[in-house]
């Protein structure tokens, strides 16, 4: 009898202690796949790209069936604070917002100029918003980015994340920045951070309707643009894509990339491509007579992808010459991005951290006007690129039909 009572009590306890208070059924949730922040006067305008589950389930939606229903819907809410705006969203949606699957967070330039501390605080304070969301910036209205569909991906928010990860893995021009990485960069000694720009290319009205997916070409599309530079939590300026790759080189963020270069110093046209497969950068600050010099040691390796230059690549000297050309190319890139950072007076490379680590005493002296000190630094790039392989051919195809 005692045993039976025990078992009954145990079973009852199970039904009580399984955490029913926090129970939310899946069909009560609005899963947010991307969100954006805009300003309207001094109010926050949050926009959400919410997944419509029935449209993305197999058989209907984009990939299968007729594709009659849009996979996502976008709506906005406004408030004096961010979470006030979020709570106002409950006036127009039957479901509770769920942010854990948010893949992309898009902020407008206006918000970035105002400062993003509040957004970061929100993500660190609450458990529902993840720190692994990708952060992007856009020049105009951030909401309009959420409204665009992407051809190959069902859910545009996830598509944006895939574009970024593909780009940073294969070209490294614009780094993919997650919210925690942004927070780390802002709290580093240099206080400089970068955020990739997302732009909508095409007619303002395009890309919103499912009709765009019925064509084989897209005039209107989302793409990664330039690189926004932040000084602390505030927007400081833009870097072009070319400058972006230089920044990636100096800040040791290059994973792999394709570099076009000229085979001889005097050539006018770019006729070769190099596939960079590994790259590592070391920053070596040097203090000489009270003047700061930054040694930038870049060591990379990779292989030749494309050539249209008469050269016998079985000769070590020829490969060496190509390596020198490449090094010259990267050096120019580094110098250009250095000039750009000096222009903006933002340390996006992590120079401050390098100085702090090597010269803690000197750092204490200069840290209060680092922006000033930063722009007076001399840089010394030392670039070593090794061309490990030249591909499956030794000579360019051109040599088979030339008369030389």
């Amino acid at each position: 009898m005692k045993k039976i009572t025990g078992i009954i009590v145990l079973l009852l306890a199970c039904s009580l202690i399984s955490g029913c208070w926090n129970r939310i059924e899946l069909n009560e949730l609005s899963i947010v796949s991307a969100s954006s922040y805009d300003f309207n006067g001094n109010k926050w305008v949050n926009s959400y790209q919410v997944i419509i589950p029935s449209a993305i389930s197999s058989g209907t939606g984009l990939a299968g069936g007729g594709g009659s229903q849009s996979p996502v819907t976008v709506f906005s809410s406004e408030g004096r604070t961010i979470r006030e705006a979020v709570s106002k969203s409950s006036m127009e949606t039957p479901r509770q917002m769920f942010f854990a699957h948010n893949s992309a967070l898009i902020i407008s330039e206006e918000v970035a100029r105002h400062g993003i501390n509040q957004i970061l605080d929100l993500h660190y304070r609450n458990t529902d918003a993840r720190e692994t969301v990708n952060v992007l910036i856009t020049q105009g209205n951030a909401r309009s980015i959420l409204e665009r569909l992407i051809h190959t991906e069902k859910i545009p928010g996830q598509g944006i994340r895939e574009i970024l990860s593909n780009e940073s893995r294969n070209t490294s021009i614009v780094p993919s920045v997650m919210l925690y990485e942004l927070a780390m960069a802002i709290t580093s000694d240099g206080k400089g951070a970068v955020i990739p720009e997302i732009v909508f290319a095409g007619n303002e009205e395009d890309g919103r309707s499912l009709d765009v997916l019925k064509k084989t070409y897209e005039q209107a599309k989302l793409r990664i643009g330039r690189l926004a530079v932040m000084r602390g939590d505030k927007f400081a300026g833009w870097l072009t894509r070319e400058e972006g790759l230089g920044v990636s080189f100096i800040a040791n963020k290059v994973r792999s990339s394709n570099l076009a270069f000229r085979c001889k110093p005097g050539d006018k046209t770019y006729n070769m491509t190099f596939r960079l497969q590994t790259s590592a950068t070391k920053l070596k600050p040097m203090l000489r007579n009270g003047k700061m010099t930054m040694g930038i040691d870049i060591k990379s390796a990779g292989n030749l992808l494309e050539s249209n230059c008469m050269m016998d690549l079985t000769q070590p000297a020829a490969v060496k010459q190509l390596e020198q050309q490449l090094q010259e190319e990267v050096k120019q890139m580094v110098n250009r991005s250095w000039e750009a950072a000096k222009r903006l007076k933002v340390d996006v490379f992590g120079f401050a951290d390098a100085v702090h680590r090597k010269y803690p005493r000197e750092w204490r002296r200069v840290k209060n006007n680092w922006d000033e000190t930063f722009s007076k630094i001399q840089i010394e790039p030392h670039i070593k690129i090794s061309m490990d392989r030249v591909g499956l051919t030794n000579k360019p195809f051109k040599s088979t039909n030339s008369n030389e």
Binding site: Y124, E131, M184, H356
Partner: protein
């Protein structure tokens, strides 16, 4: 036959007494004071804790027969024994209340945000009380499963985090004056001092004379675990960001993202941590109950177990209703409080034992 615990069980029990709360609260406090030099603070704490465990060991060596409080009564007289018993009961009760509050706060903030606190408390206390009723040796045996499992999770997450490590975050070395670094070692030392619970547990070990060694190993291993977590947090998150966070340890596991299929595995770590917390609270609650029973020489224990559980629930509920109260308490009172009970009382006992020679006539009275 009375089953006693082995040396290994003792060492693991010490780790479980200190580590679960320490790995959560230590990193952000230490890093606030000594930033990238935080690991030095942990080493200082380890040395201090190690020396202290020698003292505990030398007391434990003298008692090989009966429970600690009964032995004190015989050795130092009934009044002194009872006084020490009351103080220890009080200390362990407050400790268990603090831990329980920290635990339900964490669960409430991170996992079950809508479940009322009292419900979390009732379940926690029920589990802990069940553990206590089974005795310390059984707690030690359960711990033999939980702790190795937690170390496994620890190692796996460590491997997954390898690519996020920026080892250069530890530079420059020795940037902070020794004063700051020593100040940073205060909190970890306070946690490590909890090894004084060995006084009560040693009689349950098969070889009580080895208590000093057990304490030493417990402290060294826990400090290594703590040190690894602090270094990992600094190299992964950076010292400035750590100092604003309440739970940096869980945060750094939360950023693991491998492709799109493996992410947000901090929940795995939280689950195993919850098990560790149950073991820890059971150990400290056992100490409370043990002191209580032996101070007041209670024969029929079961009803008091229930009462103590109820008392703990109510104290935890009403002592710090807001998280800010507990944070303020931890910042101001906790360190002197823990040092008083963990260091001064053992020290006084040790001194008394030196000066009051055993008196065979007094024994048993």
């Amino acid at each position: 036959m009375i089953i006693k615990m082995t040396k290994l069980q003792g060492i693991l029990l010490m780790m479980s007494t200190i580590a679960p709360t320490a790995i959560v609260s230590v990193p952000s406090v230490v890093v606030q004071l000594s930033e990238q030099d935080a690991w030095v603070s942990i080493i200082i704490a380890m040395v201090a804790g190690g020396l202290f465990s020698l003292l505990i060991g030398s007391i434990c060596r003298q008692n090989t027969q009966t429970t600690f409080l009964d032995w004190l009564r015989v050795r130092l007289g009934s009044k002194a024994g009872t006084a020490i018993g009351i103080l220890l009961t009080y200390y362990y009760l407050i400790s268990v209340v603090i831990e329980m509050r920290e635990f339900v706060n964490f669960i409430g903030e991170n996992v079950l945000s809508r479940t009322p606190v009292y419900f979390l408390l009732i379940i926690t206390v029920a589990v802990v009380m069940y553990g206590v009723s089974q005795g310390i040796v059984n707690i030690a045996r359960v711990n033999l499963i939980v702790l190795p499992l937690s170390l496994l999770v620890f190692i796996v997450t460590g491997i997954l985090l390898l690519k996020n490590i920026h080892i250069e975050n530890l530079l420059p070395l020795w940037e902070h004056p020794l004063r700051k670094v020593a100040q940073g070692s205060m909190t970890p030392t306070t946690w490590l001092l909890q090894v004084s619970i060995l006084l009560l547990i040693a009689p349950f070990m098969s070889k009580p004379e080895e208590a000093g060694k057990v304490g030493m190993w417990g402290i060294v291993l826990t400090s290594i675990e703590l040190g690894i977590i602090v270094v990992a947090a600094i190299t992964i998150i950076g010292s400035r960001l750590i100092s604003i966070m309440s739970y940096p340890t869980f945060y750094m596991i939360g950023i693991i993202q491998i492709g799109t299929f493996l992410e947000r595995i901090d929940l795995l770590f939280i689950s195993i941590w919850i098990c560790m917390m149950y073991v820890k609270m059971s150990i400290v609650m056992f100490a409370t109950f043990h002191c209580f029973i032996h101070t007041f020489r209670i024969r029929n224990e079961k009803p008091f177990l229930l009462c103590l559980g109820l008392f703990t629930i109510l104290t935890t509920m009403y002592a710090w209703p807001k998280s800010v109260d507990l944070a303020y308490f931890s910042k101001t009172v906790l360190i002197p409080y823990a040092i008083t009970f963990n260091v001064l009382i053992p020290l006084v006992i040790w001194l008394l034992l030196r000066f009051i020679k055993p008196n065979p006539m007094k024994a048993g009275k």
